[in-house]
Every structure is written in structure tokens, then in C-alpha cells.
């Protein structure tokens, strides 16, 4: 592993940050052009964002959807892991099928049952899309060891519920926390399928960003990007705290 290779590696990883850093930079632009500020920096666009009910409502919805779908997703994946050891291949398709096709097909499907455009439908779809990741996280974390620990607990007199609460959950705890964070971030930022599912009354933050990027964009999009990144970082920090608390 030569030094050149190493330098190159770090370079590529840092390069991935460039677009995000660009967005942060532009968000402080003092005027309406999307040029990054050099001389004059301003918080004007942050104030505009906070005053704009379209944006703030969308951000609020993103928060609700992210929190609820991560809870639901992790809960369902946990049940699946615990009850069916032989592997649940059926949980994997939502991750590999093209989101465009999923979104496009869900439109008429949801219309048919009269649920199209509701925030609830967004939560349900996000939950479904997050199941493969949560499930894989649990599977790779648990492995054979958990099965043996559960057997040991049963031999010591614990019934199925006691095994779940006293052994399975504590052992899976790091994976559960990681899954919650992952699903939160993925759900908050989910745009590809969500654009097909929402109307102006149910749009989430990425959907508003989308329409702005398609039309004429202002630094508000950059602000939205910063808000999204911050939400993600806060989620990571909260979970990291919970992780350390009784690690």
C-alpha cells in the first residue's frame, strides 16, 4: 500500500464531500445568484427559509416521516429476524428494484385505494424501502452467536418473551441503534420515490428541493441542503449518545 495510493484514497473520500461543502458555502450567499459568497456572507437565506411556510412545513413533514418510518421499519425487521431464522429473501426486493419504477407503479396503486398523496402512504412506503437494510444489519450483527445465547437462556428457564427482552434485544442493541439512524437519514433524504407519492399538501423537504432544482433555484435550496445535513448529524449524535450510555 504505497503512500501515493493512500493519498489518493483520502483524496477520493474528501472529494465526495465537495458537493456538500459547496452547498453549505452557497447557502451563505448574500444575493439571489447561486454563486458562493467570497466577500460578503449573509444569513439572509436562512431567515427566508424560516419564514417560508412551504419550506418549513416540508421540513416538518420530513421529520415526522423519518421518525415514524425508522421506528416502524426497525420494529418490523426485528420481528422478522427473531421469528424466522432461515433467512427472509423476500425482504430484499425493495432495495434492488429501480425506485423510479416503484414510484411510478405506486401512483396508480395508491390512487386505486384512495391513499395517494397522504403522508401516511409516504410513511408506509419509506418503511417498506428501509426493511432490507435494517434486516441485513440485524442478520450480519446477530449471526450464529445470538441463536446459541437464546438457547442458553431458554435452558436457564426463560420463556420466549423473557429471552426476547433479556437477551435478544440487549445483544442486538448496537445494530438496532445503527438501523434507526440509517433509516432516519435515508427516509429524510428520499426523493426518487417520494416525488411520485406527494402533492403540494404532503410534500417533504427533498420534494420541494426537487421542484426548485427543476425550475429556477435560489440559495434556499442550499439552505435546505444544510438543514438536511444537520438533521442527519443530529440523528447520528443522538444515537451515538444512546450507544455510549450503556455500551
Amino acid at each position: 500500500m504505497t503512500t501515493l495510493f493512500r493519498a489518493f484514497g483520502w483524496l477520493i473520500l474528501l472529494a465526495g464531500l465537495a458537493p456538500l461543502l459547496m452547498a453549505v458555502w452557497v447557502s451563505f450567499s448574500p444575493d439571489s445568484f447561486l454563486t458562493p459568497p467570497v466577500e460578503a456572507w449573509s444569513l439572509k437565506w436562512y431567515r427566508r427559509f424560516a419564514d417560508d411556510s412551504r419550506w418549513t412545513a416540508a421540513a416538518g413533514r420530513s421529520l415526522v416521516v423519518a421518525v415514524l418510518s425508522s421506528g416502524a421499519c426497525v420494529g418490523l425487521a426485528l420481528l422478522a429476524v427473531v421469528s424466522n431464522r432461515t433467512g427472509n429473501r423476500l425482504l430484499l426486493p425493495p432495495a434492488v428494484l429501480p425506485p423510479v419504477a416503484i414510484g411510478l407503479g405506486l401512483l396508480p396503486a395508491l390512487q386505486r385505494v384512495g391513499l395517494w398523496g397522504t403522508l401516511g402512504s409516504v410513511i408506509v412506503v419509506h418503511t417498506a424501502m428501509g426493511l432490507p437494510v435494517a434486516y441485513l444489519l440485524f442478520r450480519s450483527w446477530a449471526g450464529e452467536r445470538l441463536a446459541e445465547l437464546e438457547l442458553a437462556a431458554r435452558g436457564l428457564g426463560a420463556n420466549r418473551w423473557a429471552v426476547f427482552l433479556r437477551v435478544t434485544l440487549p445483544v442486538l442493541r448496537p445494530a438496532i441503534l445503527a438501523a434507526v439512524v440509517v433509516q432516519f437519514v435515508l427516509s429524510w433524504n428520499e426523493a426518487l420515490v417520494t416525488v411520485f407519492l406527494t402533492t403540494s399538501k404532503s410534500e417533504t423537504l427533498p420534494v420541494v428541493m426537487w421542484s426548485q432544482l427543476r425550475g429556477s433555484a435560489s440559495p434556499l435550496v442550499a439552505v435546505a441542503a444544510v438543514v438536511s445535513a444537520t438533521a442527519g448529524l443530529v440523528a447520528v449524535a443522538v444515537i451515538a449518545r444512546a450507544f455510549r450510555r450503556r455500551g
Binding site: 446459541e148 445465547l149 438457547l151 442458553a152 437462556a153 431458554r154 435452558g155 436457564l156 428457564g157 426463560a158 420463556n159 423473557a162 433479556r166 437477551v167 440487549p170 445483544v171 442493541r173
Partner: protein
């Protein structure tokens, strides 16, 4: 209940049996793993099931514990039929080969687990946990550590304590010493026996290590291909095995054609290597000598036999030497059905 010594050798009397397996069979589809196994273990005894990997001994243990349901046969614990009882209600303590200690609990927490499940008060739990950790000689400094901070030997002690703290009727151990190095193994083996004597718990241990089997057991069950070939006190099985398989399972067997020592044609005899002495009619050349510390093993090749001789008296054998070995007729065991 504490025992006052080794139990009676009538290991088969249903009345005194703490553990009784009757015609237990188990297989995966067409592959049989256990073939109509019947064993009776007296109360308070320490029994070892010895056999190579794949002979079904771990499966038998799991059937006893309730983790595996047999295809046929019954299991009785202290007279009660528990064949259909799930593991959590069977009152059996099980020590896994990898210990299966809960990583998120301390040593104390692990040992307290079965008591907490049974709803025992915090004070009583604490007292019993500490008494048991004391009994397995885990130093108090380690009691509040997590398993990953403990050595292999310490983990084993915790696993043992956890399995015994709730006074089970039977203690089952699945190759508990397999993951430890030699000196530790011997030390823990003796500890295991001591604890077992102190608590008087009927114990079944499974191993492939014959030294282990000899050192601690009141009774030995030699298993092969899903059957218990012989069951009895270790000395008896060592000196009077019922088959070649059992003979070989317990050490160097020296299976010779009967005529070599003056028996009928067609019989096979077994002479343990330490039974030979110089000065006899079995003449052969020493082809190899292996030093084993306390004694020496010499391969002797004769006209119509090969054998291995174990000796520790001077003069020690040397490669190339011609020796004539003799053996006391009482030490020549004729294998049945040979």
C-alpha cells in the same frame, strides 16, 4: 443433595436413576444420529460420554436438555417423563462448548439470570450468586466484569456457576474444556469434579478426550455411530471392553490374534501396553521409541504381531533392540464375539 461417596455400581437400576433414556432415536431425514440409545445414570453420579466427533454424543446431550426432540424413545428425569417438556421447564443446567455467556451482563449478571427469571428476591439472588461464584473459585475482583474481559478459564467458571446456581436436577456439559490449553484443562477438570461432589448434582459430560473421561467420571459411556457401546465404571471398560471400537476409544489397544498368546484360533485379544514386561515368549524387534515424559512407548514388531509397549523401568528400550515380552494371563482380555 450431597452424596457421601461414589454411588453404587448398579448403574441400571431404574429406582436410583436420576437420568434415564429409553430407546431414544433421532435422525435428520434418512441419516440416523442416535440409534435406540438406552442409558441410566444414578443420582449424584458423574458420567462421561466419550466418543469421536460425529458419534452423536452432543446430540444426545441436547436431547437430554430438551433442545432437540427425539424421533422416538423417552427421557425421564428423577422418574418423571420429560420427553415433551421444553428446555425452560426441564430443570437442567447446560454448559455450552463456547460457554454462551451473555455479553451484555457481568459475571454476576450472568449467574443471577436464572434466579431473576424465577422471580427470586434481589437479596436472596445476590447471596446465592456470590456463594456460587465463590464455590467455582472466581475471585471477587472479576465478579463485575463482562465476559470479554475474562480469560477462557474464568469464563468457564462463570458458565458453570450459572448452570448450577438454580440447583438443577441434572448438569450437562458439552465439551467444556475443549477450548482451553492443557494445564488449564487439568486444573479445571479437577475443579469441576470438586464442585460436583460438593453440590452432589448428577452430571453428564460429553468429550472426545479420553484422559478427561478417566480423570473425573464415576461412569463412562463409550459412544460410536449413534449407539452407546458400553456403559460402566472407567476401569472396567478400560480393562474389559466389549468391542474393538471401545477398546481403541480408551487408549492403545494392542489387538492381537488369540493364537499369539496361546488362545484359540479366531479369537482376538486385547492387551494394554503397560501390561507387558520383559522376559517372555513374545519376541520382536523395536522399530520406534517415543518419549512421553513419565514413560516410554515402544513399537515392537514380531513374526506374527505388532504391538506397542509402555514402560518406565530401566533399561529403557532402544530402537533396533530385540526384546522378548511376557504378560500375565490375567491381563489378557479376550474380546467377546471374536
Amino acid at each position: 443433595m450431597p452424596s457421601t461417596g461414589t454411588p453404587s455400581p448398579t448403574a441400571g437400576t431404574a429406582l436410583s436413576s436420576a437420568v434415564e433414556l429409553s430407546a431414544v432415536s433421532f435422525g435428520y431425514g434418512p441419516t440416523p444420529v442416535l440409534r435406540a440409545v438406552s442409558v441410566a445414570v444414578p443420582a449424584g453420579a458423574f458420567v462421561t460420554l466419550l466418543g469421536p466427533s460425529g458419534c452423536g454424543k452432543t446430540t444426545l446431550l441436547k436431547v437430554l436438555a430438551g433442545y432437540i426432540s427425539p424421533n422416538s424413545g423417552t427421557i425421564r428425569l428423577h422418574g418423571q417423563d420429560v420427553t415433551a417438556t421444553p428446555p425452560e421447564r426441564r430443570d437442567v443446567g447446560f454448559v455450552f462448548q463456547n460457554y454462551a455467556l451473555f455479553p451484555h451482563l457481568t459475571a454476576r449478571g450472568n449467574v443471577a439470570f436464572p434466579l431473576e427469571i424465577r422471580g427470586i428476591s434481589k437479596q436472596e439472588t445476590r447471596a446465592r450468586v456470590e456463594a456460587m461464584l465463590d464455590r467455582v473459585r472466581l475471585s471477587p475482583a472479576e465478579w463485575d466484569r463482562h465476559p470479554r474481559e475474562l480469560s477462557g478459564g474464568q469464563q468457564q467458571r462463570v458458565a458453570l456457576a450459572r448452570a448450577l446456581v438454580f440447583d438443577p436436577a441434572v448438569l450437562l456439559l458439552d465439551e467444556p474444556l475443549a477450548n482451553l490449553d492443557r494445564s488449564l484443562r487439568e486444573q479445571l477438570r479437577d475443579e469441576l469434579r470438586r464442585v460436583q461432589r460438593e453440590t452432589g448434582t448428577t452430571t453428564v459430560l460429553v468429550t472426545h478426550d479420553q484422559d478427561e473421561a478417566f480423570a473425573v467420571s464415576d461412569y463412562l459411556g463409550v459412544m460410536h455411530a449413534g449407539r452407546v457401546e458400553q456403559f460402566g465404571p472407567p476401569r472396567e471398560i478400560y480393562e474389559r471392553p466389549v468391542s474393538e471400537t471401545v477398546a481403541r476409544a480408551l487408549g492403545i489397544a494392542n489387538l492381537l490374534p488369540g493364537e499369539v498368546v496361546g488362545r484359540r484360533l479366531g479369537t482376538t485379544v486385547m492387551i494394554r501396553p503397560e501390561k507387558f514386561h520383559p522376559g517372555g515368549s513374545l519376541a520382536g524387534r523395536i522399530t520406534a521409541v517415543r518419549f512421553h515424559g513419565a514413560d516410554v512407548l515402544a513399537d515392537v514388531v514380531g513374526e506374527n504381531f505388532n504391538l506397542t509397549w509402555r514402560t518406565r523401568t530401566a533399561p529403557l528400550p532402544a530402537v533396533g533392540e530385540i526384546v522378548s515380552l511376557g504378560v500375565d494371563p490375567a491381563d489378557v482380555w479376550e474380546l467377546p464375539d471374536s
